[in-house]
């Protein structure tokens, strides 16, 4: 396509139209982000009243803190669990929706509604239903399977409960995108599979998944960002990082350092680290997808 000219050529007009967006991203996105970088080099004390330049001191103390490093490991584990489980569950549901012939529209809305589910509601509801003493899920798990459920004191159980809540909330979003990708699979491929007698699961894993790979990579990125940043409400409402830091994700640690301990410099350094981790992961995922995605 040759470079056809655009409809209106007035630089001034263009910038006037862009002004609200540019002003908003300048004031509320770029300025605070750069400030985060600056603040991360200062130590804050006296409840935020005073600051002192410490260079990379905040980073040094974070990276030598066992609590913080444990939180980093925990968050990676949490993200891995959430990403993998969400993709697996989402893929199963999306595939079933794709295969079903009758009642598709009704099933679809029944499967994707958690997209509208507020994280805080997911947390609150599961906090009650899986409550160690009054929760109905706990009640049946204990009476049917004889397991001891006490996630207010057992770390791995708390981790699992929070992770399940996160997956529950995120599945709907994944199903929407996966179904869109499945719908783009050419009908001729389905017909070829039918003629060759390719089994359902083979077809899903060997034909659809490779063809959906660009969407799956996108979802891996979005689910990772969600696991790192979006799970705050779950922790805040369900476990407050406990028991004994078993659910102390980076975002919660950051919140506490900033707004409970008023350690703004340290919290800013944590923001920078979060940014670097997520940017790095996004970059790696996109690179990997470049190499392995079957477009």
């Amino acid at each position: 396509m040759s470079a056809h000219e655009t409809a209106f050529d007035s630089s001034l007009g263009a910038y006037l139209l862009l002004l609200p967006t540019l002003a908003a991203i300048g004031a509320f996105l770029y300025y605070p982000s750069l400030q985060t970088l600056r603040l991360s080099l200062y130590e804050t004390f006296l409840f935020g009243q005073n600051t002192r330049f410490v260079g990379l001191g905040n980073f040094a103390s974070l990276l030598t803190s066992n609590t913080y490093l444990a939180s980093v490991g925990l968050t990676f584990g949490f993200a891995a669990f959430v990403v993998v489980s969400t993709l697996a569950v989402g893929l199963l549901v999306a595939f079933l929706l794709y295969e079903v012939t009758n009642g598709k529209a009704a099933y679809l809305i029944a499967a994707i509604w958690p997209y509208a589910l507020p994280t805080a509601v997911a947390g609150t509801v599961l906090l009650f239903l899986a409550h160690p003493s009054v929760g109905i899920y706990t009640f049946y798990l204990e009476s049917w399977f004889g397991v001891e459920v006490d996630w207010f004191t057992v770390g791995w159980q708390a981790f699992l409960v929070v992770a399940i809540a996160a997956v529950w909330k995120q599945v709907g979003y994944n199903v929407i995108f996966m179904l869109a990708a499945l719908n783009n699979v050419p009908e001729s491929l389905n017909e070829a599979c039918d003629l060759d007698g390719v089994g359902t699961w083979r077809r899903l894993l060997r034909v659809y998944v490779p063809l959906m790979s660009p969407t799956l990579v996108f979802l891996v990125v979005m689910n990772t960002i969600y696991a790192f940043f979006g799970s705050f409400a779950l922790i805040d409402l369900m476990t407050q990082g406990g028991p004994t830091n078993a659910t102390n994700l980076l975002i919660y640690q950051l919140y506490r350092d900033a707004f409970q301990f008023n350690n703004l410099g340290l919290a800013s350094a944590e923001s920078v680290i979060l940014f670097v981790i997520v940017a790095g992961l996004t970059y790696v995922q996109l690179r990997v997808s470049d190499r392995y995605a079957h477009y």
């Binding site: 040759s2 470079a3 056809h4 000219e5």
Partner: protein, 388 residues
């Protein structure tokens, strides 16, 4: 007064010269067709006239007013697009008045009157309250033309307006466009890649190739006396046969030789500015060749295409591909050797390097007082009729 005048018009996209110093005068009321293969620059030329592209060099004048620097909306032109460009959310009527609303100074009643008038001309009165999705392709194109009509512009610019229609509808709309132009007499520049459209619609046709205009002439002149080898091969269906040949003296006249074949030519090499033994490109239309048992030209048949009214035979003549249009139902089969006769009044020579025409036998016959054939007169007559 000229309707639209292009002077040394040039358009460059990065490294590509899409339009290369084109000069063209379209007289007021004329229907001029720009025709050429895809990528020849015809659409870009039209868009430069419209003001949808900025010129790299040269000028565009409309009604003797230099509009090169003016935006599209100031040029008093209306454009009809290949895909109709109707707003899908507006009814036919709203589509037609939308541009009028934008141009200040139109009262509601005036706009309504104009729409009614255009709708009556185009026979779409019943469709005015429908949205484009409820209209057929032909009806959509009528609405698009209607939108151009209501603006009552100085110039109509049409960019392949019939290309998206099916074959039958295209022929019908072609006739209607011709009628419409005869009625309105609005200067029109019309772009198409279809040479039949070009020949049937144009008062004059400009053949473009590679960003340049090869020839501007009334349709029959393009067919009879193409200025260049490109025009010869482009106009006509199929186009003119052209073969690399040698011109040799034969007594006071000459002959054209390629392979074992010779065709006599009623002119001396000197009168053509050539000398015996010069390389030339010999051109002859498939219609001007005939199956003739006494002919000097031998063809080995490779393909036969019965077209109903004629039989198109393709084959090799002296190592060159040629096509000949002969009587239908002739008994010719693939692999046959046939001999061909050549109409001596319909021979063309082109320069092998530049491609420029060196000789048209019809011209020389006329020049020496021999009536070549009736076609030329018919062309003139038709031309006169269109100018009325």
């Amino acid at each position: 007064m000229t309707g639209i005048s292009l002077h040394n018009l040039t358009k460059q996209f990065d490294d590509v010269t899409a339009v290369d110093s084109v000069s063209l005068d379209v007289t007021e009321g004329e229907f001029l067709v720009l025709v050429g293969p895809s990528g020849c620059g015809k659409s870009t030329t039209l868009r430069l006239c419209a003001g949808l592209e900025s010129t790299t060099e040269g000028t565009v004048s409309i009604s003797d007013r230099n509009v090169t620097a003016e935006p599209a909306s100031e040029r008093d032109v209306a454009m009809v697009f290949q895909n109709y460009a109707l707003y899908p959310h507006m009814t036919a009527r709203e589509n037609m008045t939308f541009g009028l609303d934008a141009a200040a100074g139109f009262s509601g009643t005036e706009a309504t009157e104009r729409v009614e008038e255009a709708a009556a001309i185009l026979d779409i009165e019943d469709l005015l309250d429908r949205k484009p999705s409820a209209l057929s392709g032909g009806e959509q194109q009528r609405v698009a033309i209607g939108r151009a009509l209501v603006r009552d512009p100085e110039v109509f610019l049409m960019d392949e307006p019939l290309s998206n229609l099916d074959a039958k509808l295209r022929v019908q709309m072609r006739a209607e466009l011709a009628e419409l132009h005869a009625e309105l007499q609005t200067t029109t520049v019309y772009v198409t890649h279809d040479q039949v459209e070009a020949m049937t619609l144009g008062d004059r046709v400009a053949v473009m190739n590679d960003g340049r205009i090869e020839q501007v002439a009334p349709p029959q002149d393009l067919y009879d006396a193409p200025d260049t080898r490109f025009v010869a091969e482009f106009i006509g269906s199929p186009g003119m046969n052209t073969v690399d040949a040698t011109l040799r003296r034969r007594g006071t006249v000459s002959e054209i030789v390629w392979g074992d074949n010779t065709v006599p030519l009623d002119a001396s090499p000197e009168s053509l500015g050539l000398t015996s033994g010069d390389r030339v490109v010999f051109g002859v239309r498939p219609e001007d060749l005939s199956a003739d048992t006494d002919g000097d030209v031998r063809m080995e048949v490779t393909v036969t295409e019965p077209l109903g009214s004629t039989l198109l035979v393709r084959g090799t003549v002296g190592g060159h591909e040629m096509e000949v249009s002969i009587q239908p139902r002739s008994l010719v089969e693939v692999g046959d050797q046939i001999t061909l006769g050549v109409d001596p009044d319909r021979l063309h020579l082109f320069d092998p390097e530049s491609g420029a025409a060196v000789y048209h036998s019809a011209d020389s016959r006329e020049a020496i007082g021999v009536d070549g054939d009736g076609r030329r007169d018919a062309a003139v007559a038709r031309q006169g009729g269109a100018d009325d």
